[in-house]
Structures are given as structure tokens and as C-alpha cells.
Amino acid sequence: MSERIREKLQILADAAKYDVSCSSSGSNRKNHNKGLGDTGNGICHTYTEDGRCVSLLKILLTNFCIYDCAYCVTRKSNDIQRTAFTVQEVVDLTINFYRRNYIEGLFLSSGIFKNADYTMERLVRVAKKLRTEHKFNGYIHLKSIPGASDELMHEAGLYADRLSVNIEIPTEQGLKLLAPDKDRKDMIQPMNYLKEEIIQNREEKKLFKKAPLFAPAGQSTQMIIGASRETDKDIMFTANSFYRNFNLKRVYYSGYVPISNDSRLPGLSSAVPTIRENRLYQTDWLLRFYGFKVQEIVNNDHPNLDLDIDPKLGWALRNLHEFPLDINKADLHLILRVPGIGLQSAHKIVEARRFQRLNWEHLKKIGVALNRARYFITCNSSQFERKNYSESQIKQFILASSQSKHLKSITPQLSLF
């Protein structure tokens, strides 16, 4: 018995690992019923050897699948061992891992078995059992299966904290090529349905406190990077439209890990594009927290992000006419645009300068990366660093001062700017 469950877990965790989402935040389910668990900011309970956060038990219900998406290990034509959990097995694993403080909750996805509804119904059953029979208030993320009925989607939203449909391939042509039997419309449709439901639920919540929770942590999606020759502009414009049109909480970018010798895809020996992936996350942050518009970062003149410098620095170098900024006077939204100054430092600067005019030493202590920032700002010091250097000179200086940094692969959780 225990050997069988171990084998299943190994296979179905293996198959689920390519989904990079691991967030367990954004929900606020309280433990009112003296039950098990709660949700909050989300805790990373451990990190894998590739440096990624482990916060959820992330597994497939089954790796049987009727589809044949070229970029996926679970595809029908792939010769691998297939297996499936029972609903009860997933429930037991979740509860027992949770009680030992291994995880924040469950992220359940699945290959498509028989049809969309049949699969979705089982995912929903797991969530329902956890919530109703076990009084489980931990985090539940369910994959919404494209093509599942609205009723099932609705039920899923009642038990899950987050729902997601992975768009996987950023462009429509790419999807046609790699997953000919899939239709982008089927993926968009549930996003749209859930968006409407979530908005409606938030309205009801305002009127009646007792209205049931509906997917309180919202929706997310994932795109695979580097499988279909798309540009960074394609990716970021798609991401931007998801944020705007479907109120998505997060878009994840997952560097393609070669899993097939299919000629439509990068070969088995190609490297995972981790630096590119990191640049995309940085761009995503610039859009969501730093007040940048997508076309400022990628456009027809610059369809791809620089790999050797971060996108904020790239933007600043192309827009030297906006600098230098006086750090003791400039508005917060402009300070946020300075390379080397992160969100926290920007806020600290605005607070601290009310007490005294800031000099280089202060900025350094506050946490500003001066090796980048100093070419773009002035402060309370006669020592001007910026002597009308050209774009390429500044770039050279900065690269020289942070030599090894851009060669390493960095993941999104790390120091972004």
C-alpha cells in the first residue's frame, strides 16, 4: 500500500513540476470553525534544489491525457508510465502534509481524462471534501479545465482560493502549431466567466458580509517561454492584456524545459532560458508596481529585452533625457524609475528626506544600489557622478562593476532591481 502511494506521488509530482506557480498568498481564509488551517501571506516552507519556493503540494490528479500538446510531458503520444490518484488519496496527503507544517495547501491540476467535465468534476470533489468534511481552511488552487461547464467552474470557485487556466503559448499561431487540437478560445472562455463571477461576488460581499467566498485569491495563468519563437513583446503584450481584461492576479513565465525531440520545439540539449525568464518577471513587476506602461519597455523598435541588463536600466539608458533626478526633490513616481532603486528604497527616500537632505552615504545605507543609480541622480553632495556620459559608456561602467551578476541565472523571487 505505502509503496504504491509513494510511486503515484513520485509520478504525479514529477508531471506537475513544470507549472511554476507556487503562490499561496492573496487569500484571507480565517480559522473560525476551530478547524484546520488558515491562509494569509503565504509561506515558502522549503526550496527545491533549483531554488524555487515550495509552498503547496503541487500534483496532478492523473497524468492520463487525451490531448497531445507538443510542449507537455503528459501528452498522449509520450511513452511514460500513467497513473491516477483517488480523490481520498489526495485529501489524505494534503491533510497529513498540512498538519506537519510542510505546506500551505494544495495545488491540484490534471491531465484531461475522458473529457473536460469528467476531469473538472473530480478536481472539485477533492476541494469540496477538504472544505466540508475536514474543515480545511488552508490554501487550495485548482486548475480550471478548458471546456468545463459553467456550473462546475462555479462550484470550483466556491471551494478554491485560486483558479487558473494556463495559456501556455503566448501567441495564437504558436498554439496552432504546437497544440493543433486545442483552441485558444476555450482557454479564454473560463477566464472570462470567472472574472465576471469574481466581480459579482465582490459586489455581493460588500452588501452582505455572509456572502460565500468565491476564489478570494483570484485567477492566474502561465506562459511557456521559448517554445514557440515568440518575442518578448508578444509575451508582455499578452500578459498586459490579461492583467487588464481579466483582472488576473498573476501571470507566470516558465522557461521551456526541453522534454521532447519534436522538430517544432527547441532540441533536447538546449538550455532553459532562465535569464530571459527573469527579465520577463522584472518587466512584469515594472508594469504592476513601478508605474511603467508595457510599450515603454518593449515595442517594435525593441521587441526583445536585453539579457545583459535589467529592463529598467534598459529603459533609463534609452531615455537619458529624463535624468538626472534630484533625489531630494523628485516625485515618488519618478524616483521609482531610477535604476538601482527598488520599491522599499524609494519609499524610504521620500520619508527620510523630510528630516534632512540626503547624500550618497544615506542612500547607500537605505539600500540603493549606487553602482547603477549614481549615473541617474544628484543628491546633497558636490560630487557629481554623472559627467554627461553616453548611453554606452554608462552601460559599460555598470556592467564592469557588477561583472558576474548578469551571468548567473537568477530566479524571480530574488532581488529584482
Partner: protein, 252 residues
Amino acid sequence: MVNLTYDGSWYGFLSAVFEVYEKKFSLVSILKEAFYLPEAFAGRYEVATNKLKAERVWNGLLKHLPVSSCKNIYCCYLSEIPGIENTLLKFIQLAFSTKEAEKAFANPAVLKVSQVAKMVHRERHRMEAFVRFKLTKDNIYFAEIEPDFNVLPLVTEHFRKRYADQKWLIYDLRRKYGIYYNLESVEEITFASTEDWNTKGESSVFEESEELYQSLWKDYFQHVNIQERKNTKLHLRHVPKRYWKYLVEKGV
């Protein structure tokens, strides 16, 4: 120069701050009794811990600082870093004399308090993440920890809220005390000796299914990893080696 020694407790520290104001000490150093060494040119003043005086200081702080900054003072105290009391005293004196002192990040004491508090918070988050409960035969979920700072008081609420329907016990081996939740409330406990746990061996203390779940967790940890993306440096940054001892998934 006067050395103010206190008993090491939180109220003791606040009482010391009270004395600084009442006795109008100007050149002082506050330190725990246990760390006191007589010095040739400094006097000693022994602070008696006094709940009322301590509360007056605390209430004063709450009036002059936002709650988050008051919490930071408490966190710095829990850091047990030698000399932190004097940084705190400077910060408190600034708070009582200047408006919005907590935002004067260019002041060394203000910056230090925010940095140390950050370190303590990080340790607290690590403990919320890295505690690994094992189910004992008496149905208690039991975990041992050795945090860098004294963070048990900071994690109590988190575990009480989350694991409301199971008995649990988290024991700080370095500071030799633990917190135990008995399904009603959380109490502080100390073991007469910890030998029991170590000599009896896992199988006699822990529930039968415990081993299976540990194996399953290890399996899971191995199989969510993507070999092609291996990044040991990053892994070590997030899970420093000193914590491995108590992490089931890193264990042998």
C-alpha cells in the same frame, strides 16, 4: 558612566528605560545582569523590574510611535544581540523628543532598529516555515527548533490560529523552553531533560504512520525539483545549512 543591569526580561528592560528618565542618567549603558562585569570607572545601578513602570514606558511609546515601530522595539529586544539595549535607548529617547522619529532613517539608531527588527522578523518567518511537526504516540505534533533569535513569543499566535484542532509543541533547544497548545490555550513549558526524546529512538515515541509521511514528503521534495534548472547557490541562500538538521526533506 553608569551600568544599568536588569534581569533580562522585557519588563526589566522597560523598567531600566524608566529609571533612565526618573534618575536623569545621562551617560548610561543598559545590560543584562548575566553579562555584567565590574568596571573600574563605571558605577552600577541594579534595576528592579517593575510592571507598572514598564507599562508606563510602553504606553508612552505607543503614544509617540506607530504600533509597528513599537513592535520593532520588542523584536530588537528578542534579538538578544549584545548592546542592542543601548541602541533601543537612543531610539526611544529620540521618539520621546522628536515627531515621527521612526522615519529618520539617516539616524544610526533608527536605521539599526529597523535593520535588526528585519532580521528578527526574517527568523520568525523562517520558523513559521521550517518547523516540521512529527506526530507522537500521544497525538501531539512535536517539533524542535534552534532559532538564531528568541522568536517563540512571536510565532505563538500564528501556530495557535493555524493548528487549532491538533495538540502541538514547539521546543527551542537553544533556550531550553517550548510552547505547548493543549487545544484550549498555549502555555510555556520546560522539559526536565530532553534525553527522553533522544535516547528512546523515533519508533517508540512517534506514531506509526509518521515514517510514511516523512518518506512521502522527501519523495515529493525530490520530484518537484527540475534538474535542468539546478541552482545550488540560490537553494542555499533560501535554506541555509544551519537549518537542515530539523528539515525532514533535507535529512538523511
